[in-house]
């Protein structure tokens, strides 16, 4: 809760190569195995109805982040995800609010 308020680090990974068949729920469930997922933002293109193939996962703890980063490869329904530490945490601040709903 207070993470954003006090400007602490957000423990985020950036995930790309998400197959189109996977939606937020599946992604969230998958990353739940590494730690509590606080945020899961998988933007959909309202024009096409498909998502854009990448998403951000925010963990509540550093540990979750580390667990996720240590695992390789990340396979979800036969597709290999690309997972990397999210370097641009600053941008995340404003998009937080989108995260909870999608």
């Amino acid at each position: 809760m207070a993470a954003a308020a006090s400007g602490k680090r957000v423990f985020e990974v950036f995930v790309s190569k998400v197959p189109w068949t996977i939606a937020t729920k599946e992604i969230r469930d998958y990353f739940g195995q590494f730690g509590q997922v606080k945020k899961c933002l998988l933007p959909f293109d309202k024009e096409t109805g498909f998502h854009r193939g990448f998403c951000w996962i925010g963990f509540s703890t550093e540990e979750g982040l580390q667990n996720a980063l240590q695992k390789d490869p990340h396979i979800i329904e036969d597709a290999k995800l690309q997972v990397q530490r999210n370097r641009k945490t600053l941008i995340g601040r404003k998009s937080n609010k989108e995260a909870e709903e999608s």
């Binding site: 207070a2 954003a4 068949t21 024009e47 998502h51 597709a79 937080n96 609010k97 709903e101």
Partner: protein, 1448 residues
Amino acid sequence: MAALLRSVRLLKYSPTALLQVIGSSRHGLTASRLHSGAVGTKCVGFNGCQTVPRRFNVNSLFSYRSALPSASCRHYGVVPEQRGPFKDEPSLAVRSKQAQQFDWALAKLDSSVRRTGRVTKTLLLRIFHDICRTGYPSGNQALLLLRSCGSLLPEVPLAERTELAQRIWEKLQELGATYDVSHYNALLKTYLQNEFKFSPTDFLAKMEAANVLPNRVTYQRLIAAYCQDGDIEGASTILGFMKSKDLPITEAVFNSLVTGHARAGDINSAEGILSVMRGAGIEPGPDTYLSLLNVYAEKGDTDKVKQTLETVENADIHLMDRDLMQVIFSLTKAGHQQYVPEIVERMRHERGYVPDAMNLCLSLITQGHEDTAFSVLKSFTGLQVESQTSDSPDLGNFFLRHCVNMDKSVDKMAGFCKDLKDSGLHSTPLQFTLQCALDAKKTGMAVELMRRMKEGGLPVRPHYFWPLFTQHQKDKNIPGILETLRGMQELDIPADVETYTSYILSCFPSVDCARTALKEAGCDLNSDSLIAAELRSDASHGNLSGLLSLMSSSTLPAIDLSAFRASLLIGFRGFQDVELMAKITEILYKDSRFNRVDPENSENVPYFLYNLIDAMSETEVQSKEEKLREYFSLLKNMNISISGNIFRGIRNILESYHVPELIKDVLALVDRKENGMLTDGPLIKRVEVRMTFLEKTMEELKAEGKPADSTLKKIIAILCAEEKLDRALELKAQYEQDMTPASYAMLINLCCRHDNAEEALNLKRELARKDSEVALDAQKYVALVRVLSKHGKLEEAVDMLKEMKEKEVPLRDITINLLTLTMNAAAMKGDATTIRRLQQTIFTLGLAKPSSNLCSPLITCYLESGDYAGAYDAAVECHKQYNQIPKIHDLICALVEKGDAEMLQKVMEFLSQERGEMMMLYDLYFAFLQTGRYKEARKIIETPGLRARASRLQWFAEKCIASQLMEPLENMVDMTVKLFECDRDDMYHYLFRLCKETNDWRKAEAAWTKMQEENLIPRERTLRLLADILKSNNQEVPFEVPEVWFEEVKDQPDMFLEQEIKPSHMIQTSPSKKATASPLKEATVEDYKLRLLSLCKKGKVQEAYDILKKADRKGMVLGAAPYDALIKAFLASGNIEDAVAVKNIATNHIVGFNLSDMASNLLLITQVKRGQMKDALDVLKGMLQADQMPSQLAITRLVQGFGSEGNTKGIQEVESFVKSLGSIKLSSMLFVNNTALSHIKNGEFDSALEVLESVYTQNTENQNPSISFVFRKVLDANNDAALDKLSAMAERLCNHFASYRAATDLFLMYLDTGRAEEAKFLLQRCAAVAEQKDVMFAYMLRASQQPGKAAIIRTLAELVPDFAEKEAIYSYLFKCYGLDKDLGSAKALYEQMQAEGVKADELTLKRLALLYREAGETVPFKEPPETFRFYADKLKKQRSESVSPADD
């Protein structure tokens, strides 16, 4: 030098060896094939291509031989020799645009064909649309489109292709395109490729009616058409025609006859054609055999096919895979697909096999033979096909997609998918097929596919349906929505909250409507997802009362706030009804149904409050201050409380939004027990007095023994920004325990900036002791590396690099460039050890990949110290270790200059071994050119067998242009005349570009003459460039060329009018000449039109307007063109009001009247001139919406307008528009410079500096863009504050980044604006500016072409006294005096030259003599007798000789 020449001869390996190299290359083979293919068609060659103004390699489009259909495409490349000149072209401006568009369209199509061998229908239609929207398609545009309507469209059914060709034909004709024989031939070709049945006699009649004479190609194609139908009689008639006209009978004709006889059922005669050919002296070629193979294939006679293939092989004729594919196609079409596998096996899988085979598959699918296509597809196994990057196999994506597009049955597709999946060729074929069906919005097919997936145990999810919803949603198509919903129900996939919110509810006018419709459709109205979606809908629409009642309803299931938080934020931000808001907040706070996720945690609402404030912008919070206060106080009364943490978060936002007054209202919400602790803390801070306040706070905190880390950080940040290193260090020493890693990082960076390696290192170590985990960002690390290596602390620098690796700090291009700069600095000191060590560390750690840039400092280092052997060894070392050969050109040049033949020989051997002889020869060639050894250079480039390497030639040309080296470039252009495959127009274009740079119209004119000598037909871009150079020097342009009309608007509106109106006027007058003369009383609409246009042309705008009003009163409608002309005329004189009035009249008469592109552009420019920026932006938006093209000038003016009024956002907006346009060319600095100016205007100097600085710190070394414009503007505005900052920046760039362009620009701008003192001081501070000779000479050259600049050049010469090129400066000065007619100064200068012993060249004397004569005085010396041109040429020659060495 003789020795060097000898070495050159040695290097010129025996021609046979060289030819072997070339002969074995792939290109060599194909080229020779191309030539042999053209035997017998000697009257047609590739020369024809050159009449087409082309910019890109037209050949690929023309010569691409598509595999299909059976009609032979081998001569697709043949261009008919007759090409009509441009006739009745509407206006120059339109023509220029056409040329641009042609280039663009050609490039698009060309790249598509090159990559895939096909064009998509979408692309073709888009280009067609684009061409139509200009209104006046040109002949070559039409040709381009028509050519693309045949077998280049394998995905389109044959009939549809023909239809498209005819549509294009008619539409373009309607728009005024003139067709010549090439167009008719192109149309014929598409008919043949599309197997379209037409009557050749009718076709000929049509040509005759249009007064177009058929040529050999026409007849050939007509014969082919008869033969396709097996009509030998018809073919013979045409053949008779050809004979009577003495046209040669080519191989192509015989090939057609083979097909013709066979299709007529007479296979013996078909076979007999071969001997007939031989009798006529034409040896059957691959195409002949292909025709034969095809006819056997059509008969299903595989024995004959095999036999023929053997014959072909024995005759040493090479059939390509592509040819065999035609055989496959013939077999399949005739129903003999069982033989296809045999042919497939024979494929050699040559380069280009995959795209060809893909096209075969596509054509087969299109024409209903998907099973055969599938067997071809499976022959791809083992070949790398699409998406090599993907980890899982996905062969056949294109296949599946096309099946979907062609509406193949789901059964069949599922069968293909199963096969692909089972054979491991595709990991998710069904999912992919579904994706395609969804993309194509095929609901029925998609649902059916999903059913299969479900049956196969694959998951099916609600979001699979979203793509289907999107289209319905856009159309507000409720039945469509419901149908899709039914699909979901059928598959037992209930819609989830997202589906309801994003795709369903939003289509209905209200939630109630939605409920009714959904109920009818049989949906569960009480599902959680629907209710959550309703909550969201109400919330986001601001329907708070509805929301409140829904939320308070006892039947509502538990739904966590997170399910509708974002919508609620949207709804709340309006602050319509604070009371309702508070009530909703209370329910959220107290009703545990909304806190399902984490019931223990009571932060749900407080966090929501934080989000609310965070979601609002600064102005929003400021304007809603009262409402917020009210809201908070209501919450307080409801006993809603928040934690200190959340409070601090909100407080920080409020502070940064400058509404500290609200903080106390939020504070009131904090739990009482926590509240007490907080009030002592600093609640409200003012930015203005921040520093003093912070320092005070600091002391207070310290006195109270409280932690003060964040305050300290803020202070240090301010000190760093003010560059107060000492004070910052003092503070650090004082409050060491409060230092955070961020504070250290800032401080370290500051030390680096101040070149204080010792302190930087100390701080870094201290930081490491405190927290070994902390990592700096890449830029700071590199800054450390830089300063450490500079001060000889190499090991420490290496340690930093290692630490970066350990801590996984990623390097971006900017930081990598900084590393290059670091090593370059070492290179300048000759410190190779440091460079090697850094290089090695960087590469072995993998911080950056070895690049030519990163490797070059090492070579530079040796070159600088003149150690060429060392440089060579270093280059070899770099090549061995990192596969880079940087700076080799510089090394070779140095060796040539020095005449070190032995070393040169060594380098050449090395290069030829590593990069091949061809590359080595080019390297040597460029070195000779660069060093002025033209004789030697010529010997190299004339080496037999050498062919043009466009990229290498371009590399050198660009180098010459960038550093304004005319002589080497000119020589290169001269020497490459005979070079095989050299694009001559390109070469001249380089030359003109440099002429443009140096503004040398004489040179340009001479080059143009040379082009004529060479019989070259320049492309339009080349002509435009040349015309531009001539015009800007007030020279007459001796040819007709599409001018970019708006260039003239700014200076000479009258001229613009003349030019603009003339062509349309001519069109109008020619048919009815007498009408102009006839008096107005019996005037017809036509007369009014002409009168109006002629008045506009004469610039009598008001009179023209009167005519219009008169016509209007009589109820006459003059048509769009005259209205537009008058509007333009008004705009040209800056009269927006009347222009708008005319527009209104036009709109009244013509529905949907729109300003033409030009008028819109003009309107926009006029508005900018008047400062009506908002209107101007609206015009731009309107243009984009109307699909019009804004002109370069209009955009430039608009951006400048925004820049000068400080509207940064406006600039960004325009930039994003322009990016979306794509095809417009603008200076890369336009947006940068004006963004900077805009920031300056707003007093945001730091932002301005950031923008400008990044230009130099982030670019590679070669790019050296000018920011003179910014300096000029700031100087003109006398904005001293900005100037201080800018000049500090320029100096910083000099001193820290070794980037001198900015300072040089500033220096010259100082001079140019008469601020000699400032210029002098700047020079003292940045001595390196004096070395930027290229920039200075470029400046002087430009200056010497304007009157009144002599004084400036004088001052420049005084300030930079060590200019070695005294004569050059003096000659510029004479040029100036000549322009100014200043005989007195010229005399004085001449005396000075004599005193200094500087010899005046003949050109100077000539100029001086002219001055004397013009002043009526006698010339006191013997005037050189020849013309100016003569001496200019002579001078040039002398210079080149003085540079080239004397042969000993």
